[in-house]
Symmetry: D2
Subunit: 281 residues, 4 copies
């Protein structure tokens, strides 16, 4: 038996699940795990299905499905479970998130392929190589930004990258790049209750005496740091902690949140509906 994962998203209407299950019946497939949600605001239908069949040909299964669901004009994403999502990781100088991703990748917790790690600095080269992953140095200046992003786009195509993971990549991506990869770039950043605008957020958080340090992962859109939220977490802090302690705790929360985010994406559990996400966890 071969296991598949299907993501299907389209405008909601009656009969979609029936059509999908008709296609699966044609392949004598058995559904193992299915989750569906129709977002009331956007009227988007989201379906994730994990199923088994003795039909090993991806194209045959896709055709069987499409013959039933084509009329809904869906975004349909089908793969063999063992055919992992391909993630390009981007990083600048802070390696804490990259380090946690690679730890989980190396011991098999994160079932993804990482064709390359890209950075605008040389710092992470050793870490990438220690894990046997190609390191690509793509420095960037205001003058070369356009060319650098074109290079990046080529890498995405060349390596058949599904998701670009910004693991503390400290450059703002151009709107063009964001728009060319919709729902395919994720980012991690700090979060606080309340939020702080402007520079040195940890210093502001310290001065305000917050009792929690948080982190948020989100899809990257042209509207920076405002893309649909995927995952959030916090960690309690207290008065005795210095700004440096808060920053250190912030790193821990960011690691945790980004690694979980990549795991959710690796399992095709994340859908984007308007400004929100639907997550079948």
């Amino acid at each position: 038996m071969t296991e598949y994962i299907l993501q299907l998203q389209c405008e909601d209407q009656a009969g979609i699940i029936h059509a999908v299950s008709s296609g699966l019946l044609d392949c004598s497939a058995n559904i193992v795990e299915q989750a569906q949600f129709s977002d009331p605001d956007t009227n988007q239908f989201c379906l994730r299905t994990r199923f088994e069949t003795d039909q090993d040909s991806l194209e045959a299964v896709r055709s069987a499905l499409l013959s039933h669901v084509d009329r809904f004009a869906p975004r349909l994403d089908l793969r063999h479970s063992h055919d992992h999502r391909r993630m390009l990781i981007m990083v600048s100088k802070f390696e804490h998130c990259l380090e946690d991703l690679l730890y989980h990748y190396s011991n098999g917790d994160l079932q993804v392929d990482i064709p390359a790690i890209v950075s605008n600095h040389e710092d992470a080269r050793a870490l990438a190589q220690a894990h046997g992953i190609e390191f690509i140095y793509l420095p960037v200046t205001p003058e070369t930004k356009r060319a650098q992003e074109e290079k990046l786009r080529e890498l995405v195509d060349q390596h058949q990258v599904d998701i670009v993971v910004l693991a503390r990549y400290m450059q703002v991506l151009s709107p063009e790049l964001c728009n060319s990869l919709p729902g395919r770039i994720v980012n991690i950043h700090h979060s606080f209750l309340p939020g702080f605008v402007g520079a040195k957020p940890y210093h502001q958080a310290y001065k305000r005496g917050v009792k929690m340090i948080g982190a948020t992962s989100h899809f990257v859109t042209a509207d920076l740091d405002e893309g649909p939220i995927i995952e959030q977490d916090i960690q309690p802090v207290g008065h005795a902690q210095t700004v440096e302690n808060l920053i250190s705790i912030g790193r821990d929360v960011e690691r945790r949140v980004l690694s979980r985010t990549v795991d959710l994406l690796a399992q095709d559990r994340v859908f984007q509906v308007g400004r929100r996400t639907v997550i079948f966890s």
Copy 2:
């Protein structure tokens, strides 16, 4: 449009979702939220579907579904969403869980009907009446236990009770009673890391210096406190807390866990598969 919630459970095989969706298509129903999981150990297929249709007759919808799924010999539980689950709450002297249930019930957070509160003590009468709920005093002694449980069984039938909630009911139910209401009685009790056997668990936890106080809700089976776990939570504690503080914190965790459990049950999100639960939260 009328909204329905369907729970369906049976032995797993190919074609069940197709059959269900065929039945729903016959009613021109639109699925709003669906979750399915097939437990690999027990081979049990579990499906929860929330759907809308302009067919208002429960019986008509049930017939439409059965005509397609009858061959799977499922447990099929269908209701109008606005037709709330009926919960009989049992309590002894400690009212903390009851109090939290009634708070959430009264302000509409818990969408359940509570036809009666049953107790082997008189203590909770005032609280029940303050919420306009019938209070039934059913004292119990070793000699009257059998008769008391028969009375209880009658109440369950008479009030068409779906779930019996033991909200710190301090009597052990007989195996006969447990077996007569499989998957329909839930209980709450304290939990620790590590667990403690025997009397005065909070005193043991204090002496052992645990850093967390927990609570577990579970289905009641003839094997006391060993039924399938529904929900768990913990709260951190420290060295300065006395045994009395631990007991007080334990009450808070029990309240939280039992209220969440009743909410999950109120929404038909809980399935029992062998010694485990499947929960579509």
Copy 3:
């Protein structure tokens, strides 16, 4: 033996703990639990000490202490442990926080005295009376606000109130009132990652797809919702939750955070240093 709790705060300098312990030695006191922190930013020294002595006279112990520490010009707050803090609770129409406070108060979890509950609406009268607490109706309009707050100030004096707890009191207090009770008024409000400015924050949070609902308690200063934070907590949420669900979860988090805050204050564990708090939990 009589148990005391001491709070002492002053500008930091060498010798304060020695002076305090000298005073305690003069009373043959034994320290049971002590916590001290000097805030590096404000140079404020904060000390909480719980001690036992056979000297039963509060005034005698205070004199002994003052004879040693007077030269530091401290704020010194001394009481018998069994002499509970007096809390005036204010509420408008939403009773969820009040309800949780009274539950914990009634079963002895919150060791406070509540001389009265004040409201600008009649709604909470029954709840107050069910717990045997005086309910004082103080309606307010723009025209009567000044007089109403004067009335409130009188109640604080008359009932020797230590702390005013705003348990979802929906009126903005005047700067005069805030300034007349520095560090003695606490409030609770919702919090999100990221924060939302303006009306209908839960609707904004829903539209933005946040994965956590939070609440923050803080001291009230003339700068509304910007006073020093005392306690924060969050609860995870998901895509299937409606705005109404978020609001309901928000109530649960607010209840939890405010009850913990009152417990910290009841035990004299909270100090205000500039815009932050020091909390010896």
Copy 4:
């Protein structure tokens, strides 16, 4: 100014804090952060004090303190803050905890010295060396266990090790070794609600359908896995997670708990009192 950290533990009686502060006054020291707790069950007095003075000589400060506190026969542990605790880490084949410790060590989050990593297997050699730490291979068989532990004892002395950290070291230490390093060996292991005795705990937890995976760190005593608990944490799990997923999540919780434990020990925040710990966090 030089910063010091003092840990002092002895039988409780009046006057200890006064004596300590007298000694500190003799050194013109200023206390920055102090926490004290007297455990009612064991009558043990525990004090942690962080202070600053222009007296740079550790011996001079220690003498000044001892001249005042010697009569209490305390365990007195004094060090310059910048003089880090020395941790010997032991590991077998699972490197997940070691990996997280070294990440936090390398980026400065964990302020400890790690003179060596000891293992009964060769697996972790590369990881140790990548962080510039000596790796010592000490294989063990039933026949060589006694000699191996003697070697270990020598390493502890030779490297002036304060704490031995068992980061998934899968050998049971002999009672002799445990007793020779009281309060100086810490271990990490999985924990569940409820607990599971015997082999394959994650398989048992899976079959029982637990909703939380936990980990506990504790001091090692001759009574294995029953030493005083230092830190605990949990992570929620659900029905869709396989045994392998639970084991993976267990690794994450163990990493987190052990790294926090080492941080608490690195800051001298942990005291052992009978079967419990006092932790000034």
